[in-house]
Symmetry: C2
Subunit: 554 residues, 2 copies
């Protein structure tokens, strides 16, 4: 098999107008970005908003190994397989961030024969959404610092500014900086901590907005800091929401592309899955629901983080509740969760697999608690043995859940036809409900997720967290869903606690209000919101030759 970029570049794409036609979209409904990318126009979104809604399928995963379990690849291949068996399917997924592409990943639009194309554009600047966000984020920051410079009429305490500049670059040197040096004409000296663009609240705001006027409202509500008298200051106090919405006028429109097998894909927005909700935009998922019969969408990280947030934060804002879930597992990750060391997860080990199944089992039960039917997709690797696959299928069937080996990476749609058929044959039994109601106490909401989903025996709050909860309650900001930031490797807040731990306490360190996004961020540990580059960054292997051949995007 070739590299992802070689497979992608040797593939023959259809003009995006033809992909649009599949969805009943005319050329006027599309704003083209070259021949193979388009934004759905505001008109197209409005026109299709009354069409019947397709089925919504959440793609999620067990707790991963550090190598990841191939959730996006499975989703893309499954959408292709649904198309292959005659269904009108679509994918709604997140946009890759350029920083990690240049750092470790090399690319993030599926893999092998289950990719979204043009992968080089999707992985680089795509249609400019990330750059528009970066511009909006930094324009807001410059407006804040300019306000300090020109008399600080709002009396903002520079030490309390929570709005952070951002770049879509993995740049550890910008994590902790001092800005505004150089005397009276060059700003007010203060600390600044740059984030990567996808970690900024502006990204979550874009992804949770229903439309442009909701976007403007949410931007208005973003908290940027406090006055010397400890009163909150919002974007609306600066009167910056008009310019920022203008900067995002195109970024809010979802982007249409295609898989290698020409299945339509909407790629739009990509917030962090810890300090934010880790799902593509509401607008894209809703649009896909109006345009096709099956919409596959994924949530970042494992189901404890991703699915929970999709179901508790995102779903209430969607046009439709999910109809089913596909839980991605790998034999490798099951063995890893069963105590096998990473180095040995390639070797057959039924004992470890059986032990690790506890992890998958809890995710299955959790999804059922939300009222969702579950199908397990086994992302099959070359080293997986028949005995292992067989054991996993048996363990699943003991829970009345079917598990299907999937080989879309190697085989494209043919690697998931059985799973696709199972999805189509699934009876309509979904009975969605949330884990908590927004009106409950903050600590009650946290406790419910921690106990019901994570399996914690209790929750401990730091003094800081308790103080912050009190402030949030005093400000009457508590009636919001919670967004817990936690390691993706464990149900607990300890990345080493694999499997299905129970006897642990979830430690809440901080509670912050993201009033634009509309959720409370619950930090259980420090989350690095600006990654660094490794010693051998992927960028150093990238090149484009005279004949347009691109190398180094994996």
């Amino acid at each position: 098999m070739g590299t992802d970029i070689a497979i992608a570049q040797s593939n023959k794409m259809l003009p995006i107008t033809q992909i649009g036609q599949k969805l009943g979209l005319s050329a006027d409904d599309l704003e083209l970005y070259g021949n193979y990318k388009a934004k759905l126009s505001t008109n197209a979104l409005a026109k299709n908003a009354s069409k019947p809604l397709g089925k919504l399928v959440l793609i999620t995963a067990m707790n991963p190994t550090p190598a990841g379990e191939g959730k996006s690849t499975i989703m893309i291949g499954l959408a292709d397989a649904l198309q292959k068996i005659g269904q009108k399917s679509m994918v709604a997924m997140r946009e890759p961030s350029l920083g990690p592409v240049m750092g470790i990943k090399g690319g993030a639009a599926g893999g092998g024969y289950a990719q979204v194309v043009p992968m080089e554009d999707i992985n680089l600047h795509f249609t400019g959404d990330m750059h528009a966000l970066t511009a909006a984020i930094n324009t807001l920051a410059a407006l804040i610092d300019s306000h300090l410079q020109h008399g600080n009429q709002l009396q903002i305490d520079p030490r309390t500014i929570t709005w952070q500049r951002a770049l879509d670059v993995n740049d550890r040197a910008l994590r902790n900086t001092v800005i505004g040096m150089g005397g009276a004409t060059s700003g007010v000296v203060r600390e600044e901590h740059f984030q990567i663009t996808v970690a900024s609240e502006m990204m979550a705001v874009l992804c949770l907005a229903k439309d442009r006027s909701d976007l403007k409202q949410r931007i208005s509500n973003v908290l940027i800091g406090y006055t010397f008298n400890k009163q909150p200051v919002f974007v609306r106090d600066l009167r910056a929401q008009g310019a920022l919405t203008l900067l995002l006028k195109d970024a809010i429109k979802p982007n249409l592309v295609q898989t290698l097998e020409h299945t339509p894909v909407l790629i739009h927005g990509g917030p962090f899955a810890n300090i934010a909700h880790g799902c593509n935009s509401i607008i894209a998922t809703d649009a896909a629901l109006h345009l096709s019969d099956y919409v596959l969408t994924e949530a970042g990280f494992g189901a404890d983080l991703g699915a929970e947030k999709f179901l508790d934060i995102v779903t209430p804002k969607l046009a439709k509740k999910p109809d089913a879930s596909v839980l991605v597992a790998t034999i490798r990750s099951l063995k890893y969760n069963g105590g096998q060391t990473l180095d040995h997860t390639q070797e057959e080990d039924l004992t470890a697999l059986r032990a690790g199944f506890a992890n998958l089992q809890r995710h299955i039960l959790n999804l059922q608690k939300f009222g969702l039917p579950v199908l397990v997709a086994i992302n099959q690797f070359a080293g997986d043995t028949p005995a292992e696959i067989d054991l996993l299928q048996k363990l699943c069937s003991q829970l009345d859940v079917k598990a299907y080996p999937v080989t879309v990476y190697q085989d494209g749609s043919l690697g998931a036809t059985e799973l696709a058929q199972a999805l189509v044959d699934l009876p309509d039994t979904a009975q969605y409900h949330r884990m908590y109601s927004d009106q409950e106490d903050i600590s009650t909401k946290i406790n419910k997720v921690a106990r019901e989903i994570y399996g914690a025996k209790s929750v401990a709050f730091s003094k800081k967290a308790l103080r912050q909860i009190k402030q949030i309650e005093q400000q009457q900001w508590s009636d919001l869903p919670i967004c817990i930031a936690k390691t993706q490797y464990s149900f607990s807040d300890d990345p080493k606690l694999l499997g299905a731990p129970t006897d642990f306490v979830l430690n809440v360190q901080e509670v912050n209000a993201n009033l634009g996004a509309g959720f409370l961020v619950i930090l259980t540990n420090n989350v690095l919101t600006m990654p660094g580059l490794p010693s051998q960054p992927a960028a150093l292997k990238m090149d484009i030759a005279a004949d347009d051949t691109i190398t180094g995007l994996f």
Copy 2:
């Protein structure tokens, strides 16, 4: 008259494919960005490269008042007028920078009835070129700091790093910063001075590249700092040129848009006019020359800076030497240069006008020294009196130069038909030659421009400049054109010295080698490469309504 944005939004654009057809370009030659913007594909550029070359007309100006003299507006209106009288005309011009749009300007794509549209897109993200540059600039910076972090194999002295991060935001607080704080995992502590994107050498590199392979070569040659042993370190030493060229693979393609009267316009690149050469890309001007009979292009600031750089730095790289120049003057600026205070330049003052003509006269003579025929365009304002216009025309005719009142801001193409006809009727007398040869001594080159163009009696070099010149000579980097950074308000380095001063010394403070761009930057004063926002930034007046009406882009 309405605002610029109101005029622009009420205008009916043609689909950009139709504009392409005017130029003999098929739909395949264009990479669409929506219906009204397109990039010329690499194929289209190659296919047209053998076509005959049109006439090249440089639009430049006398020294301006702080309000500017409307050079772009005149250029756009004149191109429309040429089209009106039956000529196949095009404009090649610079891309606006988002920072100033949000700061003071509100917009920069012409004005009134001589605009390029869609002005809101051109002024905001356009086709993403600026953002791609910003990403490339900051990716390079992150790679440098990551190199320091991971063992610093190249032994780069952090205190000597010349490569600066950039944002397309007016953000004074980023002029002087300290980065890399926060301990051993978050970089190496050092100073960083952010620039605005258009001030970065990367912008000049893009604009002076002939094609993508030249771009990669130029990027390879960019100097990023020195080792502890004082040896230069280049981008090629980091092996980053492949990734950076990949990031600019689309940004290097020129952008096709149209005027309000549907004249084709290429907008591409926009370097600073002081520390860089202030002209749109070589690729865009060359493409326009192959696609039309008259190409109008402008150079930033007055002719002392802009035209000189266009003629000494840019022209040698173009497919064709310029055939003529149009020198833009205003009655207001003539009076200002003749000693009248800004407040009173609206009042008739023939004495000040006569005195200020010395400034225009020197620009006329300078352009003639380069071998260019000159036409003067009087950008007419409501307050200009017939006696003033008449006097200016007489003064010009005493130099055998014709001056035409132009009212394109109010009247569109009809405001410049006389000038357009004069341009068409101009005999082919251009005999282009440069002010110096690249092989001359650095100080000789500076002296020639200072004496011949600026009218200085001599040049004085600071100790630092002399040391830098010596280093540059030792490194054998001296055979490059010079790019002098100087105030735009005077022929001298003193912004208060108006008119046509002669008895002054040009003070050279610093000499830096921009080896990627391929010129030596000669600083006569401190140039602010990161602007700030004013106390009432334009951004605060911007908005987009539910019906897509945009306000606040002037």
